[in-house]
Amino acid sequence: MRRRNFLIGGAAALASSLVQPAHAQKWPRRPLTIVVPFDVGGSADRLARGFAQYMPKFLGQPISVVDRAGASGLIGTNWLLQQPADGYTVMLTPAMPFIPVNILVSNAHYKLDDFTFVNAQWTDYTVLIVPKDRPWRTAAQLIDAIRANPGKISTGADFGSVGHIETLALLASLGLKPNAVRMVTFDGAGAMRTALAGGQVDFNIGQAEGADIIKDYVRPLAVFLDHRVPGSDAPPINDVLKPYHASVPLLDGSVRTFVFPTAFKAKHPDDYTKFVSAYRDTLNLPEFKKFLHDNQMGGDWVGEERTTQMIRANFETLKKYKDLLK
């Protein structure tokens, strides 16, 4: 099917290029590819497939989704940068934390400046949770317990994740050494959630969406935001830390955004603008809004500037704590 399209499309392009000079044609002239650097079925992949369904009407070309998982997004991101920066390949990924983590932990060869972050559409926040059977009912109780029993209380961490960094930041801000808690590292958030649900570790700082999956087993004690979350008793973490004369930087959790190589916007600014407006139109489409709602996905419009600021700020904070990861 696609092969036929390719041949027909190729023939059509050839024919029309004989009629008009190539640059007068509107972008996009052929189908787009969204690359997701994670596995099929994951949240980014499902969001991308939603776009593949609803966005073509605004772009005038079909969209296909390609998964290139591996090394926490490193493989797919490298692949994006290897494609021509002509706007026909775009990446949809939780740029935060994975691109900074790739750079800081996995020695990726790219830099933040290599990317254009279009819009932080779906952002998750970080939350401190304990298994329901543990005695602490407030974050302060947990902190006191850690200080009173150094080296006894355990925490589960998905290594290199935002939650992990926040855990280290929290300990540092309280003047505690990293080994004040027993850090149990997991290979992935799923395994850690299972362990947490089973009460294998005493607390965890991690993604709120993940905590929601195991909400029957855990109790949130604080959120890493500067405001309360409606429907939850958990206070903002820095409020909790005030009596201890401590505070932690508030890193954004999973930030899903479209990502282009910088060269695309630089070389084809009009095409980029076209993509962005088609994207915005899709976000405003009632059917797409329903899709997002049914799948519990976010649909925020934050804009490129603010998104880039967010990611840069997070990156700088991560850089500071990177050495604690060793």
Partner: protein, 504 residues
């Protein structure tokens, strides 16, 4: 422990109309096909099926998913027996005795044995689930890194029994596999043995490596031969012999039951379903009076591996339903599909929607019966593979395996691993190193290290930590006991024989 109102509600739901049941046969067939053809993967099945699920009504989707699941559980055994290519890591144990049987012309019986054992295993586990889904879930949560570590150690002891004629070579092969399993980024973010390659950061792709070690190495050996089954008179597909094989499974009730119960228990543990077949195999072998027969084409090997494999998948389903947490590829697929129809699993779900839980279990039970029939027809057709000339079969299977390994690893690391390990596997066999020991090490490497690390981290470096984990200690005790038991038995037999001698 059975909520009868919910049970009757579920029965009512399932029997409310017959039309949704029409998806059973396609579902089972897709499950079988995707896992029986080397090269096809679960994510491909996902690609076919996920788009259809929202269009099906709830009952149809439910029946379809459980049918696909049932098919995929058994499907992996088919290439394991016929080609020595396990359809997934869960069929590795089946290759040990399955392929030798096929080569001896007993492929019909082998396939029949596997089908019967698989159906029985699924039957047992779903019946157990009917009464125990909730408690099973709660129990599963209590199992943490120390318990999983003991499980991995148990799996590793299998290496000792797979040693072949030379102990040191067998153990070296196992250690080699274990280390290979740890290549890549550790749980602490440290890259080991990656040569600086991004492609290796996730480690060596396990299934391509296993397929390379087992299959390619075997297939290379076969290039000198014409057919898998050399004897023309044996090279036939006979329904009667398949049936005979199915009946034969029940001649080993001990092995069958032990496998089913063991598998159910291990399947509950996250990730356990992949190694349940190995653990059952090693238990059956240890308990047997003539363990040296295992690995040469002993039906008990197939029965042990398949019954545990089948029941362990049911165990995974239990964890999925009871906890709402998927424990592996297939259950992750189910969760995605289920969540499209608002089945999320978890304790609150079990409380408020017990009827749906029972519907899933009952549907799975019904699938067992259908699987027996559809599976029979499928293996009848699949059996014709032995009639294909090897010079056509070998390149076909290898090409499919290459493509499949690309699909599994999502990049070229898959095919490269396949080729590299094909050569290594052949060389190992040539020098009398048991490839299966390396495979076991490879399968268990990552999880053993991870759980060992986490147990160490949880303990804070204190040895008396293990005393706070009674379940782990119990498991260790049982493991030690089962390892010593054969020696005690032969010791007693010897002293009884001595007594006899002395009495004269």
């Amino acid at each position: 422990m059975i909520d009868f109102t919910a049970l009757t509600a579920a029965l009512h739901l399932l029997t409310s109309s017959w039309q949704p049941w029409m998806v059973v046969i396609p579902g089972i067939l897709i499950g079988l096909l995707v896992h029986a053809v080397p090269g096809l993967t679960t994510s491909m099945a996902l690609a076919i099926c996920l788009p259809l699920i929202p269009y099906m009504d709830f009952l149809q989707a439910l029946i379809f998913m459980t049918a696909m699941y049932a098919g995929s559980v058994f499907g992996v055994a088919i290439p394991a027996i016929l080609l020595n290519v396990p359809g997934s890591a869960a069929a590795v144990g089946t290759t040990f005795d399955g392929f030798p049987m096929a080569r001896a012309g007993k492929h019909n019986e082998a396939l029949g044995l596997a089908l019967a054992a698989s159906c029985f295993g699924q039957l047992v586990v779903y019946l157990l689930l009917l009464g125990l889904a909730g408690p099973i879930g709660a129990f599963a949560l209590k199992l943490g890194p120390p318990e999983m570590l003991v499980l991995s150690i148990w799996g590793l002891t299998l290496i000792g029994t797979l040693r072949g004629r030379h102990i040191s070579r067998g153990l070296l092969a196992g250690a080699f596999g274990l280390l290979l399993g740890t290549v890549g980024l550790s749980a602490r973010g440290v890259p080991r043995g990656t040569f600086g390659l991004d492609l290796l950061l996730d480690g060596i792709p396990v299934v391509p490596a296993i397929v390379g070690l087992f299959a390619a190495a075997e297939l290379f050996n076969l290039v000198g031969k014409e057919y898998i089954v050399e004897d023309l008179t044996q090279r036939r597909v006979q329904a009667s012999r398949i049936l005979a094989g199915m009946r034969q499974a029940f001649e080993y009730p001990g092995v069958l039951f032990r496998g089913a119960i063991l598998g159910s228990g291990i399947g509950i543990i996250p990730g356990g379903h992949a190694i349940a077949n190995l653990l059952s195999y090693s238990s059956a072998r240890r308990a047997a009076k003539d363990p040296e027969k295992f690995g040469t084409g002993d039906p008990r090997g197939i029965v042990a591996a398949e019954s545990a494999n089948a029941s362990s998948e049911g165990g995974s389903m239990a964890t999925l339903l009871a906890l709402g947490i998927p424990t592996g590829g297939a259950t992750a697929v189910m969760l995605v599909a289920f969540s499209m129809h608002n089945i999320t699993g978890g304790p609150s779900f079990m409380r408020d929607h017990a009827d749906m839980v029972y519907a899933v279990i009952l549907s799975s039970l019904a699938q067992v019966a259908v699987l027996a029939v559809v599976g029979f027809a499928f293996i009848f057709v699949a059996g014709f593979v032995v009639k294909v000339r090897l010079r056509m079969l070998v390149p076909t299977v290898l090409s499919l395996a290459v493509i499949g390994s690309f699909a599994l690893a999502h990049n070229i690391a898959g095919p490269i691993t396949l080729a590299v390990f094909a050569v290594i596997g052949w060389i190992m066999q040539r020098f009398d190193y048991p490839v299966s020991a390396t495979v076991v090490g490879l399968l268990l490497g990552r999880r053993t290290e991870g759980d060992l690390l986490r147990t160490y981290q949880m303990s804070g470096g204190h040895f008396n930590f293990m005393f706070t984990r009674p379940i782990a200690l119990l498991m260790l005790f049982l493991l030690a006991a089962s390892m010593l038991f054969p020696y005690l038995k032969s010791g007693r037999a010897r002293s009884a024989a001595n007594k006899k001698v002395m009495a004269h």
